[in-house]
């Protein structure tokens, strides 16, 4: 598919934001000019993403809008991009959130051009990852997305931004290091970086007589797996690789938090389902022994996922800082993504080796749930950060104990806050419920006890959501804020309204997006 006559639409999505960023950076130092130009660019991106999503035909198998041209021949890497239903969903999410983040960051008064340029530049990294069909392209954009976010936090963040941004950067780089090595190893042995080819070559790769450079092949694969696994675990984040997140999310400016939680975390989950699941069926299914307990790697991943669900919910419940509370809610919610992926990983491995095990229907539902949860969490966490940022921007404190009774002075904000909180809580009728239900349904026959334990997390999801509502809205009005303007601004309202509409529509009629996800997922499991 092309737009503007000859430009490939996916390449456009990847490079237009970078060009936009450059233009915004070079514009005269005028706040309003920079803001509106950035918004215009973001709106175009949004329009194109939506067009791509709806132009994608989920009834047709295989990747669509595929482009493959020479790029880095020497390494065996090419500019190979294209999308399936899962990438289409993620592109839609990125396209939707970018203009909203730009709109919200109108509140930034300092070095506006640079700020807007970084947000646009960030979109390049995200789109690049989601369209990549080549491992080098994937890695390149995966790393690229880190840079603008680092500067957004580091330059425009809260009081403790230096610590948070450095922690974020070092954590992510720490993960990327192993990923880079693993990428090179795989590319080197397979003589290609094409992901689709790799999914058949690499799992079958057996080295020379079961060794590679004298090392047993299981060890090699295990190390390669670990490289990817840790990198993506950090990004998702899967417990216990999550402690960068509360700091980064809470110190980032509102738009930064929205994009971080809304899309950046999905890079990790996307990496799992695009790379780690298809490339390492043998590792996922292999048994390891911990303290005498034998468990498959996929099972271990499920354990970590459930720990994230439960401890994330508890940690959120223990917060008094509103942005930290919302940040920990991401750990909690992304745990469901990880749980769904664990089921999918095990099922994929079993089907790869043709061993009897998980019913394909279960695997499909679990993975549907995981991908759908990625989208839903994007909506609700972006919304929650927007609202947390709105109140922080007005009161200059994130300490919830200093709030209280804001519903009196901000009735519209209160209504929106409750609505968005309920979406985050997974109230049936709103978006999050469907995906959580699908994950629970998928995980139950496979990881029964773990699913049962995960329900404790679901219970405390209610706990921290209600705690947030109670602290911000309920109780007698704190007279300290008597003369403050607390009601939501029109600009903020415009930014959250599309999210709310999507939460409701997706909750009531999820099939507009779930059918697209389902078609691709079903094909993965040979349905």
């Amino acid at each position: 598919m092309t737009i503007f006559g000859t430009i490939d639409v996916l390449s456009f999505l990847v490079f237009a934001p970078a060009i936009g960023a450059l233009i915004v950076l070079l514009l005269p130092q005028n706040k309003w000019l920079a803001r509106w130009v950035a918004l215009a660019f973001a709106a175009i991106l949004c329009g194109v993403s939506v067009a791509v999503f709806f132009a994608y035909n989920h009834a047709v198998p295989d990747y669509q809008f595929v482009i493959q041209t020479k790029w880095f021949d020497l390494l065996g890497s090419s500019w190979h991009i294209g999308i399936d239903g899962i990438s289409a969903t993620m592109i839609l999410l990125t396209g939707l959130l970018t203009p909203l983040a730009v709109l919200v960051s109108f509140e930034v008064e300092d070095r506006v051009n640079a700020h807007m340029a970084l947000i646009l530049f960030f979109a390049t990294g995200l789109f690049g990852v989601f369209v990549a069909m080549d491992l080098m392209v994937f890695f390149l954009f995966y790393e690229l997305s880190l840079v603008p976010m680092y500067f957004i936090i580091d330059q425009w963040g809260g009081p403790n931004r230096k610590y948070a941004s450095t922690k974020f950067f070092i954590y992510s780089m720490g993960g990327s290091l192993g990923m880079l090595l693993a990428t090179q190893l795989i590319g080197f042995t397979a003589h290609t970086f094409d992901i689709q080819q790799l999914t058949t070559i690499w799992p079958a790769f057996n080295g020379a007589n079961g060794t590679f450079l004298g090392i047993p092949i299981e060890t090699v694969k295990g190390l390669a797996f670990a490289g990817f696994f840790v990198a993506f675990c950090i990004k998702v984040p899967v417990w216990p690789f999550h402690t960068w997140l509360p700091d980064a999310h809470s110190e980032a400016p509102t738009a930064g938090s929205m994009l971080l939680a809304g899309v950046m975390l999905k890079l990790g989950a996307y990496g799992f389902l695009r790379l780690v699941i298809p490339l390492f069926p043998d590792v996922w299914i292999s048994q390891i022994s911990i303290f005498g307990l034998s468990i498959s790697v996929a099972g271990l991943f499920a354990v970590l996922a459930v720990l994230g669900i439960v401890l994330g919910a508890f940690a959120a419940f223990g917060q008094t800082d509103i942005k930290r509370l919302v940040a920990y809610s991401s750990v909690n919610h992304m745990g469901f993504v990880a749980l769904g992926l664990a089921v999918a990983a095990l099922a994929y491995a079993q089907s790869y080796f043709k061993v009897a095990g998980i019913d394909p229907q279960t695997a499909i539902l679990a993975m549907n749930g995981a991908v759908f949860q990625m989208f839903n969490h994007g909506l609700s966490s972006a919304g929650m950060f927007l609202l947390a940022g709105a109140v922080y921007h007005k009161t200059h404190t994130r300490d919830m104990t200093q709030y209280g009774g804001f519903w009196v002075k901000a009735p519209i904000y209160g209504g929106i806050f409750i609505f968005t909180s309920m979406a985050s809580l997974g109230l049936p009728g709103l978006n999050g419920f469907v995906s959580e239900f699908l994950v629970v349904r998928g995980a139950w026959p496979v990881f029964t006890v773990l699913t049962l334990i995960a329900m404790i997390g679901l219970l405390f999801t209610g706990g921290y959501i209600l705690k947030g509502i109670r602290a911000v809205l309920h109780g007698p009005f704190n007279m300290h804020w008597r003369d403050y303007h607390l009601e939501i601004d029109l600009r903020e309202f415009v930014a959250i309204a599309p999210l709310m509409v999507l939460m409701l529509v997706t909750g009531l009629a999820p099939n507009w997006i779930l059918s697209v996800i389902n078609a691709s997922v079903t094909r993965i499991f040979g349905g």
């Binding site: 007005k394 239900f437 706990g463 003369d483």
Partner: protein
């Protein structure tokens, strides 16, 4: 699809039932809920708010108030009318149990199949469609008057519209997932409405408690749904419950968990679902939220206790009964594990809650515990297989309990009216001295008051705020600041308009309320022959006795527990009516209690009269055909209409229990006995002001236990609430995340910092040494440099590596990143 065929096709019509209230919710929320900003001290501002020192607060405009109320009423009336049409349709269909009204469509794709979402009207739904919209309509009408002076009446109507919409969705749902959607949305509505007066600590705490307690059960129920879906591939009621093959398969496959107990899949799913009901219908041990739910405005209590929330729990287990009983045969005394759970929990709760109700003084608390107790009747009835009796009691209970709640709301409203009257009188007589004294008695209040006064005078606090607000945040213009510091509202001595010991003699000033309350109360007490409550309760006891005669232990247990609970029910009902309406007024407020005149009084009495009618006659549809005289009148075809109709919901219609005179006599005895005992204590010689409740002396040391509800709340706070709060803040966050994980990372960081420092020092020495040494000893180093340039590539690489490391570390240190770690 064209609209006409949609309307004329009976299968599509039920889709419209929830639409009215849901649309009303959207319209009110998005369009008509308009506020104006007035100072909190204004007369317009209702009495349910704390003092905001003249701060501007939103108050619903008169137009918005009227429009919202009208929209809400239209919404529920629409639902009612459509329901009536659907019910008429349903009655016209022969064998409705087989030829149900149903339609469905794809909700989402699941692999190559799809999950279908749709509506179903079978006999059970039909009777719910008679009860729910009618009760909801009464509640809506009642709310017009009850909430007339609340500054947030529009919000109230939007929320109860959503509440009603969710309940109707639940009722017409054709699958368990859609039922769960309605179930949870109702949970949200109850949370929002219990905490409607969100400034009050007791209100928001009760709201959180309600939501959290029911959520404990809901997450378990969700597992049950997921399990059922995983086992059968569908959640449709018809596909599962009307399909003997599926039920048999579920009953014969072993459970996925707790294998040692020998349960079947059906049993485990059933237990998960029953746990959902234990939460939603407030059964022991998750009953604690319901009494606190009284914090909401009274129409909400009626909504929660009668028409919607708790009924939903019982409705769900009645709906799922074929699954819950799969593997058991109640007719032969074989109960499946979920049924055992239901009968034990239900019977225990029925008695447990009834004992608590005896010692409560709050008029609404008594009713709350009576609800818990009555729900126990239904749950235990279902537990012993009395399917019809449970459904029957669900319907009759909804009518009389809605009536009782609204009547008690009228009483409270009347008492507040009386309080207002007295207060004005008082203020005239004593002036401000009284208020000043009140200040001293309530330090907490006067503190808030002082703060408010400071804010009003606008000196120090305002200046502080001004400093912080900074640029771009112009403080809102504070118009309407009242210089007058005295705020007479909300400072007076605390008077509890819900305490029955402050009442007495209300029959004189509130006759309609009295008579309707009396009818509702008698129905609750099961006054023989003429009340609906008698017939439904009698049927439960009849079923239990039948099982007892056959030697089933569970039935015997249920029979004994329920009989005693029924006695207590009659007793506390009489106590309540006696304390509230009989005798003479025990306070000035009670003497002046009245509903006043005009629209408020009309809207608050009309629904009572409607419901009182149903609280009496609704029972005659379920009279046993063999009942002497009455049986041949009301059940002339040889079967009771209710039993015959509802029984058709099941695959095999349950057999009617043969008539036995013993349970009827027991029903007579416990009801009349309880009423008589209440009469002796509270009616024949009514209490006068200051007199101690005779219960205190009679029960002795037991009384405080009952009064404090067996200390269950305190236990839960110690065992669950406090530890989980402590765990969240200290273990999950501080210890694991901050301590272990971040501690480990910062240990690594510290090790590297140490290495960095070492190298830095080394380097400083080196550079300084070189720098200082160069001018004076350049030649001296000639030989050394020559040694450096050894030409060995490894050595060069080593220098490069050291330099890179040093530069990197210097960069890291000078930017201060590693030091920033706390």
């Amino acid at each position: 699809m064209d609209w006409n065929s949609f309307i004329s096709n009976g299968n599509f019509l039920p889709w419209l039932i929830p639409v009215g209230p849901l649309l009303a919710f959207l319209i009110i929320t998005l369009l008509t809920n308009r506020s104006k900003w007035i100072p909190a001290t204004s007369e317009e501002y209702g009495g349910s708010h704390p003092d905001y020192g003249g701060m501007l607060v939103p108050v619903v405009t008169d137009t918005s108030r009227v429009v919202s109320v009208v929209v809400g009423l239209i919404g529920i009336l629409f639902a009612w009318i459509v329901s009536l049409i659907v019910v008429a349709h349903a009655f016209a269909i022969d064998h409705l149990g087989e030829n149900v009204i149903a339609s469905s469509g794809t909700w989402f794709d699941t692999g190559v199949t799809a999950f279908k979402m749709g509506i179903l009207v079978d006999p059970l739904t039909t009777i719910m469609l008679i009860m729910v919209p009618l009760a909801c309509t009464c509640i809506f009408i009642y709310s017009v008057g009850y909430m007339a002076h609340d500054p947030r009446q529009s919000r109230f109507f939007s929320l109860i519209a959503l509440f009603a919409g969710a309940m109707l969705t639940l009722v017409v749902a054709d699958n368990l997932l859609l039922l769960f959607v309605g179930w949870e949305v109702m949970g949200l509505c109850s949370y929002m409405l219990i905490g409607f007066w969100f400034e009050k600590e007791s209100a928001y705490k009760a709201a959180i408690k309600a939501f959290t307690t029911t959520r404990v059960a809901d997450v378990i129920m969700l597992l049950g749904i997921a399990y059922l879906y995983a086992s059968t591939g569908t959640l449709s009621f018809r596909d599962i419950l009307h399909n003997q093959a599926t039920l048999t398969a579920l009953a014969h496959s072993p459970a996925i968990l707790f294998g040692g107990l020998g349960w079947s899949a059906a049993s485990l799913i059933g237990i998960f679902l029953v746990v959902g009901t234990i939460g939603k219908s407030a059964q022991f041990p998750l009953h604690v939220w319901l009494p606190d739910a009284m914090e909401g405005p009274t129409p909400v209590s009626a909504m929660i206790h009668a028409a919607a929330m708790v009924s939903a729990g019982v409705y769900m287990i009645i709906r799922m009964y074929p699954l819950l009983s799969a593997g058991g045969d109640p007719g032969a005394g074989i109960l499946s594990p979920p049924m055992v759970l239901m009968s034990v929990v239900g019977a225990f709760t029925a008695l447990f809650a009834a004992t608590i109700a005896v010692a409560q003084n709050d008029i609404k608390k008594v009713l709350a515990y009576s609800t818990i107790s009555q729900l126990g009747f239904m749950v235990s009835a279902l537990g012993i297989g009395a399917y019809i009796a449970a459904a029957f009691h669900l319907i009759t209970h909804a009518f009389f309990k809605a009536l009782l709640f609204m009547a008690s709301g009228s009483v409270i409203h009347g008492m507040e009216h009386g309080e207002h009257h007295v207060h004005e009188h008082h203020a005239h007589a004593h002036g401000h001295d009284e208020l000043a004294a009140a200040h001293d008695q309530h330090p907490a209040m006067s503190e808030a008051h002082v703060e408010a006064v400071e804010a009003v005078t606008g000196e120090e606090p305002a200046a502080a705020i001004g400093d912080e607000s900074g640029e771009g945040h112009p403080a809102e213009p504070t118009a309407h600041v009242e210089p007058h510091a005295e705020q007479p509202t909300k400072v007076g001595p605390v008077f509890d308009p819900q305490d029955m010991f402050n009442m007495g003699g209300l029959r004189k000033t509130m006759p309609v309320t009295f008579y309707t309350f009396l009818l509702g109360g008698l129905s609750l007490a099961g006054f023989p022959l003429i009340t609906a409550g008698f017939w439904s309760k009698d049927e439960i006891l009849g079923d239990a006795w039948h099982g007892t005669l056959l030697g089933f232990g569970a039935s015997a247990l249920v029979f004994i527990f329920l009989a005693v609970a029924a006695f207590l029910t009659a007793f506390y009902t009489m106590r309540q009516i006696g304390l509230t309406f009989w005798g003479d007024a025990r306070t000035e407020e009670a003497k002046h209690a009245s509903l006043g005149k005009g629209i408020v009084a009309v809207t608050m009495t009309l629904p009572l009269i409607i419901l009182a009618f149903f609280a009496v006659v609704a029972g005659f549809v379920g009279v046993s055909p063999q009942f002497p005289i009455l049986g041949s009148i009301f059940s002339s075809g040889g079967f009771s209409p209710f039993e015959h109709f509802v029984g058709a919901t099941l695959l095999t219609e349950p057999e009617a229990v043969p008539f036995n005179v013993f349970p009827v006599l027991v029903s007579f005895a416990v009801s009349l006995g309880g009423l008589y005992a209440g009469y002796l204590l509270y009616w024949r010689k009514p209490l006068v002001a200051g007199e101690v409740d005779p219960m205190v002396n009679m029960l002795g040391p037991v009384y405080p236990i009952l009064k404090n509800k067996y200390y269950v709340d305190e236990l839960y706070i110690r065992v669950f609430v406090k530890p989980s709060q402590w765990f969240a803040a200290n273990v999950a966050y501080q210890f694991i995340d901050k301590g272990i994980i971040d501690g480990f990372l910062s240990l690594i960081a510290r090790v590297f910092t140490w290495i960095g420092d070492l190298l830095k020092n080394l380097n400083l020495w080196l550079i300084d040494g070189v720098g200082d040494g160069v001018p004076e000893a350049i030649g001296k180093f000639g030989g050394w440099i020559r040694w450096l340039q050894s030409g060995e590539i490894q050595q060069y690489m080593l220098y490069v590596a050291i330099a890179a490391l040093v530069i990197g570390i210097i960069f890291a240190l000078t930017t201060g990143v590693l030091h920033a770690a706390p």
